[in-house]
């Protein structure tokens, strides 16, 4: 069974709206894509359609948050984080309780192409003081993350997928903000993955196991503040270190892991992501293959690297 994290978000928010009257939701003419319409249908008085005005939406969200509301401001990742200065001064500098929901993350959106793909959003949001940055890897983790986000103090950026993702966690999964999750044991190499690439990394680990390579898979749902402990420990225990994300390799998870290790346990890191290029149109599957994001590509890359460096 698989579901997009945007749909899991919309369903969860519509449930939370019943128990928490303080939740308000805004969207910029993409509610049927971000799935915020599921909340809008049930709670029209607490949903604000802002039209195609992302900057104003972010500012209005700030005013609502500073008045005590828990605010979810939704749009595509690229459009909403593109209004960076408004996020910086209105939201971050006032530490307002705004949750910016950026859907349609990465190459995974497919045919719509570069202008609709969030490819640098994590990098942007990670560098804002007071902001936390999260990216769940399946529907269950999304549900638990969104539940957690209601009580979080300070602004959050939550990055979600358009495409369906395989279910990884059981119903009783406990989300722990700021903590990485070990999904697969192994000591030959470790891969730190986030979002859509967690499932691909897990599948890669299974492929590699058949070839005698034990790949540890760590799911990093909280990219900021990042779980230093699990990164350092895995770097100590595994010979090779990889990161994987559907995002530019500059400023995202790969950079975050490199920052932790360079200061605590210097090690060579192979970052898998977009090599500082834009995306393009194509099916998600074709794009994941071309850019080396699917399980088979990840497995081949890791296998080749281990062979050449052993």
């Amino acid at each position: 069974m698989s579901k997009s994290t945007r749909l899991a978000f919309g369903e969860t928010l519509a449930q939370l709206g019943e128990v928490n009257q303080n939740i308000v939701v805004l969207d910029a003419d993409l509610s049927k894509s971000t799935m915020s319409y599921l909340f809008a249908k049930k709670f029209p008085d607490r949903f604000f359609e802002m039209g195609i005005q992302e900057a104003n939406m972010i500012g209005v969200s700030t005013g609502l948050a500073l008045s005590g509301k828990i605010v979810y401001a939704c749009s595509f990742a690229c459009f909403v984080t593109g209004r960076y200065d408004t996020i910086r001064i209105s939201v971050a500098y006032s530490k307002a309780n705004v949750r910016i929901i950026g859907t349609h993350a990465g190459l995974g959106i497919g045919e719509d192409g570069t202008s609709q793909m969030g490819l640098e959003d994590v990098s942007l949001m990670r560098s804002l003081p007071n902001f936390s940055v999260c990216q769940p890897c399946d529907e269950i983790e999304t549900r638990e993350l969104i539940k957690y986000s209601v009580q979080h103090q300070g602004p959050m950026y939550i990055r979600l997928t358009r495409q369906n993702l395989d279910k990884i966690f059981d119903e009783d999964y406990k989300f722990k903000f700021g903590k990485g999750v070990k999904l697969h044991e192994g000591n030959d190499a470790v891969i730190f993955a986030t979002g859509a690439l967690v499932a691909e990394s897990l599948k890669a680990a299974k492929i590699l196991k058949g070839e005698g390579i034990n790949l540890r898979v760590i799911n990093i749902h909280t990219i900021k503040p990042i779980d230093k402990e699990i990164i350092i420990q895995s770097a100590k225990e595994c010979r090779f270190i990889f990161t994987a994300e559907d995002h530019n390799i500059i400023g995202g998870l790969g950079s975050a892991v490199a920052e932790v290790l360079s200061e605590n346990y210097p090690a060579k890191i192979i970052r898998i992501g977009l090599p500082d290029v834009f995306g393009e149109s194509g099916t998600p599957e074709a794009l994941y293959k071309k850019y080396g994001f699917n399980a088979e590509s990840l497995a081949r890359k890791i296998e080749a690297y281990l062979k050449n460096n052993s």
Binding site: Q53, S90, Y93
Partner: protein, 277 residues
């Protein structure tokens, strides 16, 4: 309630504080602080009636200074009310002071929101007005914009959006002092015909002399009584108002007076106080 004569006196006293603070800081924006101060004095003392007691009351009326560089005027008022000390006002822009160069909400909650990157405050004010509507509260939201910042796209997004939500609890005051850093607003990027534009955007639009307390009072009364739509008050003001050599002089947008200029400015303002008696 203060009489207009009392308000005039407070304004001119605060003009002295503004000049002293900016002079001590050796940087800041005197022109836009002096153009805004009369409106802000009326607003804080007679309209929203801010006191030490109600400053953080959840039901207080709120004021957002979208043109954040005019903050010395706001700090002068907060000091007068007792929400910051006179020393803190005089430590404008000094390391560790809550009186940051532009409003910083986490350093000083009485500014209601961080502003200073232009064009953002009006959106925040709209969010606060929406929150009041959701909660069925009667408090009102006031926001001061600048003419230069009205060139920002986000301002027009905000102007387009507020009437949609029938925000009659929102009142915006444009400090229309006609100039900005690079020159006169009409030359840099003309806003005219601003009244027609705002009316076309479905606002209740009023036009006043922003240094005339009677006109300020009337406009705010009309704004409060207008139902179903937000009010935009176009307040014609004079940049640097009260200090002859700063008045309508672009040079004084963002420059602190030196010692001699400060002395001259203070002499003029002291005279205003005497003539006000």
């Amino acid at each position: 309630m203060f009489t207009h004569k009392e308000l005039q006196r407070i304004s001119n006293e605060l003009r002295i504080d503004i000049i002293k603070a900016i002079s001590r800081a050796k940087s800041g924006h005197p022109g836009g602080s002096l153009s805004a101060i009369d409106i802000l004095v009326y607003l804080f003392f007679n309209e929203i009636k801010r006191t030490k007691e109600n400053a953080l009351d959840p039901n207080r009326h709120r004021f957002i200074l979208s043109k954040g560089h005019g903050v010395p005027a706001l700090y002068a008022i907060l000091a007068r009310i007792g929400l910051i000390t006179y020393d803190e006002l005089m430590n404008l822009r000094v390391l560790g002071s809550p009186t940051q160069g532009h409003p910083s909400y986490l350093d000083l909650p009485y500014v209601e929101a961080s502003t200073g990157s232009l064009g953002q405050g009006l959106s925040i004010a709209i969010g606060m007005a929406l929150a009041a509507k959701i909660d069925k509260k009667s408090y009102r939201i006031y926001c001061m914009t600048g003419d230069g910042e009205s060139q920002e796209g986000q301002i027009w997004e905000a102007i387009l959006s507020a009437p949609k939500f029938n925000l009659d609890n929102l009142c915006v005051i444009l400090d229309y002092n006609k100039s900005q850093i690079d020159g006169y607003t009409k030359d840099v990027m003309d806003l005219e015909p601003i009244k027609d534009k705002l009316e076309a955007f479905k606002w209740n639009v009023l036009e006043i002399d922003g240094h005339n307390f009677e006109e300020i009072e009337n406009a705010l009364n009309i704004a409060r009584e207008t139902k179903g739509k937000p009010t935009y008050i176009i307040a014609h003001t004079i940049k640097g108002k009260g200090v002859s050599f700063m008045e309508d002089n672009i040079e004084w947008h963002g420059k602190a007076p030196n010692e001699k200029e400060t002395e001259l400015a203070l002499q003029e303002l002291e005279k205003l106080l005497v003539s006000n008696e």
